[in-house]
Point group: C3
Chain length 467, copies 3
Amino acid sequence: MERPRHQGMAKNTYMRWRLPLVCLLWEVAMIVLFGVFVRFDPEADAHWEEEKREKNLTSDIENDFYFRYPSFQDVHVMIFVGFGFLMTFLKRYGFGAVGFNFLLAAFGIQWALLMQGWFHSFKNGKILIGVENLINADFCVGSVCIAFGAILGKTSPIQLLVMTLFQVTLFAVNEYILLNLLHVKDAGGSMTIHTFGAYFGLMVTRILYRPNLEQSKDKQGSVYHSDLFAMIGTLYLWMYWPSFNSAISEHGDAQHRAAINTYCSLAACVLTTMAFSSMLQKKGKLDMVHIQNATLAGGVAVGTSAEMMLTPYGSLIVGFICGIVSTVGYVYLTPFLESRLHIQDTCGIHNLHAMPGLIGGIVGAITAAAATEDVYGKEGFIKAFDFTGTYQTRTPSVQGGFQAAGIVVSLLMALAGGALVGAILKLPVWGDAAAENCFEDDIYWEVPEDEEGDAYHMHNPDKATSP
Amino acid sequence: MERPRHQGMAKNTYMRWRLPLVCLLWEVAMIVLFGVFVRFDPEADAHWEEEKREKNLTSDIENDFYFRYPSFQDVHVMIFVGFGFLMTFLKRYGFGAVGFNFLLAAFGIQWALLMQGWFHSFKNGKILIGVENLINADFCVGSVCIAFGAILGKTSPIQLLVMTLFQVTLFAVNEYILLNLLHVKDAGGSMTIHTFGAYFGLMVTRILYRPNLEQSKDKQGSVYHSDLFAMIGTLYLWMYWPSFNSAISEHGDAQHRAAINTYCSLAACVLTTMAFSSMLQKKGKLDMVHIQNATLAGGVAVGTSAEMMLTPYGSLIVGFICGIVSTVGYVYLTPFLESRLHIQDTCGIHNLHAMPGLIGGIVGAITAAAATEDVYGKEGFIKAFDFTGTYQTRTPSVQGGFQAAGIVVSLLMALAGGALVGAILKLPVWGDAAAENCFEDDIYWEVPEDEEGDAYHMHNPDKATSP
Amino acid sequence: MERPRHQGMAKNTYMRWRLPLVCLLWEVAMIVLFGVFVRFDPEADAHWEEEKREKNLTSDIENDFYFRYPSFQDVHVMIFVGFGFLMTFLKRYGFGAVGFNFLLAAFGIQWALLMQGWFHSFKNGKILIGVENLINADFCVGSVCIAFGAILGKTSPIQLLVMTLFQVTLFAVNEYILLNLLHVKDAGGSMTIHTFGAYFGLMVTRILYRPNLEQSKDKQGSVYHSDLFAMIGTLYLWMYWPSFNSAISEHGDAQHRAAINTYCSLAACVLTTMAFSSMLQKKGKLDMVHIQNATLAGGVAVGTSAEMMLTPYGSLIVGFICGIVSTVGYVYLTPFLESRLHIQDTCGIHNLHAMPGLIGGIVGAITAAAATEDVYGKEGFIKAFDFTGTYQTRTPSVQGGFQAAGIVVSLLMALAGGALVGAILKLPVWGDAAAENCFEDDIYWEVPEDEEGDAYHMHNPDKATSP
């Protein structure tokens, strides 16, 4: 190859006018749309005193805020610190990981409030938002954070904003089909968030395939402290996942049960991840990539069923399996996907979200199909699956069938949507970096020229002068 | 310059007797005062069973603990991890940032419990404390953490303890004037916490002006990983700010609404911060200083109005504006303040707290003045502004006027108080470091002499010997 | 000494088959036992609607989930992030600190659910689990994390799993003796968690004494950034300790009071820790080891009494004393224990958990003995100490005596149990490293060969080739 070492500027990554333009334009659009459409839910509106009287509520504690706000905050941490720091494992892409995740999530939650609001909280021409909408917006953006994992280090912030716009839109449509048309249960989002988000991202990265990516191979690894930063993300995702899966379940036993099932599944998952991480490595040493990611698969895989009567041992089994599937995926599948299918999956979301998401959908379908009035109680049975109104006569096995249909729909929506958005992002106007400049913060960020920086740029001594 | 490179010891920074003396003396004073004055609030007292009967409460869940404890914990994280880590961006002042913040906050909350207690929870000669007092103490200390940001790296721990003593005192007085005498609403503290804390700190740093500070210029920057540590602080502040602004609002809709408004404002703020960070830099690259700080301005600026019917789009607009104001401040105002007004503001609190705090006060005044019974409902209107008793006849526009007066009072109290305290801290007995030793942990902390340390001290090979 | 520098492989630390075998075997055992024994508590079961009717509950908010879940999540963070990151202070053992803590805690909580379940939640042949069980399981594992602190860096992951199995078992037995047989109060676990966990760990490390440990002395220190990572652990432990001590207290005033007392104790502890850290060092500089650890002693030491009417000033006094005791311990006792008693205590758990745990037991005994109906109210008195049924006639002074007995029992159980488990762990089959390879992640983990790694391995240039 004749190319000089640092000619990344051959590609125009100059953001000065494009990024501000997109950010400001979209934020102005948000303000206008919020002005036209968004108002407070009765429980957050100053008219609440009247509402309380109408609904015969005797205490302020009956406000949904007190049922869901602690869970909301946990979910919020998962989206911004969890996903953000999980992706800081790359040695020179920590700013991009945390910073771009911050950017896309902050934009995405606004657009999600609108999209999901039109589908689910639209009354008399207004979207009425409360704490549950905030959780759902965070959930929706979670699927974008997942997709971001596949393309981490290879895209410009503008591409991420464009992707967020489209993905949130499609997410809301897919969610509407599942929850409202198919009447599927998916409180923790195995299908709507993980399956959808992961296959969407995998398709995008497939379309954006970079044949010369090995030119930045030296930057695709971690350093000692970046692996510790990533563990902050891992642990917050792991610890708060019970809140994630229970956040929008029905009040009372359903929230309680969802938290317990998730807790159990995640605990089992850690053990099998450690086991297989050691077993699949010749020297028998543990690999931080597995510990950072595969330990979380158990949370993904009970996303649909956690609020059902999965039972603690059922959860352990799911976690047991997913730790294995995910770790094996990192060792064998990721290299295969890259070399054969040209799917360059930076964070291995196929192992952490795609496969466990599918498993989660299947486990949910089975658990639903196996439900009986005996196990749930007569009232509990109706409440758990919301077999009321039009769905009064739906049987568990039919519900199982619809759950399975939900998996297929999510998968298809994700692949089609990802292909479309990938094609859009392939247009040469978005300012992504050349292959040899991928996984490098220096392209889009002011990076301090410090001692560590010196060490990093030691091959490039003319850059290492005083700041 | 003829001075030898390391002659910082010319100034006596030896803490061995002074720091312990101050710490122990003040803690003993706290114990004595707590012993004389502080008891449990009825809701935290073992007599609660009787209290419940008297108040006709049917369930333990009516205890204020369950309304506020989750928010309290979020606020607690903001004060200790949020502010602490936000200030770790300096390459060699991480111990001081986290450690001194820890010290001053731990002392400050005790003194705040007393000061605020005397003003607000004093009954029959005793201060009765419950979870709301803990939140308020954390709030009060938040204003000291803000002021600390201006003088970060330039003061001794003793100076910080002295400043905390005085600032907490003045904070409580100012808060009493605003909340009780002017009957101003300021649940998230745009005026009492941010405006007061920031201008107080700016005045202190002005008085402590160091003409030779450029001697430690090489230590005023960040390194790659210190910027990531700072992002931990940023994100926790950002994520938990909805809890901050809603923590002491009225039960029910007010807490709910405050959280939603803050969530919206912060989301918008990220977009405009990113836009202007890129736009104001010739190469169009994003600057971590802006991302770490200006993204938070939206939370500051709805501190007064978040619990009012600001509406989600109103919040977006406030966030939109503050991201811009704050980022522009970092680029143009901070250098100007330093060179022309001799205000050396280490963390740029003028941009993150002072200006957004003022904006927050103004937005609050306008929102209050614009309130109508139509928007709030008859009961909601009275509840939102506590127009009862003496204030039964106050109109929204009068309330707006008092809100505006609150801004002015906070500003004046801050400037006068800061000048006074600055003068006290200027006395040459507190053990602050010489200009060339600022921003350097080595002065007050045992610093490990490790590989990274070696790198740092490489100009100084005689220090790099074995530990 | 003639030994070559890196001959650690003389000891067989190869984990490839042993670690996976233990992990998988034990997880399978968990699944079987959960399948046989574990079901949902009525409040987490889908039959809850019927339960609600029976218990005459009018609202879902009466579900224990809403009383305890926020505290549970705080405790969860303390176990995984708190303990995990607290131990990352070692320069090259961050993966082991966070990763092995993750492994043992994830296994331990499952086994604890069973062990504690058999003792406390066993009905009709089934263990019924709800959110309180999750908290208790986390608590139990907390004692293992404490013991891990003593042997940090010197044991293989298999040893840790073996230790966890035995320690959780003994913990549950000891807890049963204290809470059920002696009817002792210990909601925050000064005795059951801290005293037991610490002396257990100290005995284990005594038995595993390594005479040549100074061979890895260069790795027993911290580096600048590892000290900052450790502060993440410290702060989360410090901030959430009020949740720890109040998590399983009675609903209402007891939870409320426990949080306030702990808040006060911890605040005082910071001041005296800083004072003595500076005072005991010739140069008067603060030592991060003290700040990271001794600041937490105040939380340990009110573990028993926080839910009692200790009063805020009583808490300040306890915190005041424990900051001193703990810091003095680090300076004088730890070296003494190592050189004279051959107790190699990596994290100094003797100072942070053992002594403060004992103090906490004593303070609890005194506080209980001093209780009067006047202070607690007639009903509050009975409720606080659960003087009902068999214990209807127990007096405060008798209760104090039983509390004191609880300390002795915990201590003896810990020492006997630690000796037994230490002996088991001494068997030469568990794959622990040689003395010169202690405190080194490289033995059990894939460690990135990066710039920083290069720096670290600079004495060993042949290892520093491309990854």
